[in-house]
Symmetry: C2
Subunit: 203 residues, 2 copies
Amino acid sequence: MSGPETVRRHRRDDVTQVALRILDDHGLADLTMRRLAASLDVQPSALYWHFENKQTLIAELADRIVDAHLAPVDAVSEAGSDWRERTRVEAEALRDALLAYRDGAEVVSSTYALGLGSGRALTRLTDAVSVAGFDEATSRRAGTVLLHFILGHVSHEQQRMQYDSVGVLADGATDPLGQEDQAQAFAFGVGLLVDGLAALSVR
Amino acid sequence: MSGPETVRRHRRDDVTQVALRILDDHGLADLTMRRLAASLDVQPSALYWHFENKQTLIAELADRIVDAHLAPVDAVSEAGSDWRERTRVEAEALRDALLAYRDGAEVVSSTYALGLGSGRALTRLTDAVSVAGFDEATSRRAGTVLLHFILGHVSHEQQRMQYDSVGVLADGATDPLGQEDQAQAFAFGVGLLVDGLAALSVR
DNA sequence: ACCTGAACACCGTTCAAGT
DNA sequence: ACCTGAACACCGTTCAAGT
């Protein structure tokens, strides 16, 4: 009297969830196919029934990470037709999404580099910019610049976090950046790009 | 009657040279300690006399790549006290440096992320920006934004290059970007940041 | 539909010992 | 000063076969 699901061992989604857990608890370096298999009580080879290869798995994680913290709809609509505010909101939302998982930025940027994943992050940023009325090519380029900055910045930020948690904390010689400063530095970068775009639209 | 050098098998510099060769010919993924050792006719363990570990080796490569194509002095002095032009020159020079070796951007950005390497790239960009007269913190932040953009952009550019050389070239659906377009997109990004900074200095 | 078992072809790193 | 030999503790992926 049990449904067919009773027989199933794992679905693709289970694998993804456990992978996300390992990622967040132990970092990308420790997310190996063998370790993931062990966490699922399964042989490593079993994973290849669910995913073509490791990169495809990671691309799936990247999409989940990005989609989990999309810019809240109300924040976007609150920004209204102010493209500058909306761009800032989207950038912050993406940063928050990446920060929500350990090594989130690296996961997303490696996926993006390989041309895998949904590319939703880029679309979001591009759309926000395009509200200003630039032609498509310009908006896309601006979106790309924003994305590169965001991925680079947050990667570095996350690197710093685990460096600090393990590391040479007593030294103090090089560590002028707290969490608030990081947020400020991020806003500075986004502001720079938004201002640059504004200068473009005036010219 | 031969000097003591005759007895030596390899110096640290030999290892670096051969590593750069492998990097450029076969890419970062194929630059393994075992392969490098084989190219030097040596056991893998021998490399650990010259370098503490693989990342230290790669940091050395990163420094060589960045230093090889520093912005030509004449181009910098030609820009004179125009910080906008000088910043553009430095950005282009760094791009050229990264493009001079296969996977150059990835090598430099992974080194930068780990806090290894000389950090000369960042210094150069920061110095160029600071000519505008910003305070130190602002110049450094601006340099960081530029560096993130440059590393991200060129990484993507190089990824694309080898994707094209191996890849799905017949498709044509997604490949609107030639080399000139990449250079243009790069200049666009740098211009955006420079304009953003200019807006800052006016305010 | 989902997994096992066994293998293939690799990795980076350590360390005692040699010359 | 520079290298060998041997080992340790891993990787991702494939594939025939099982249930």
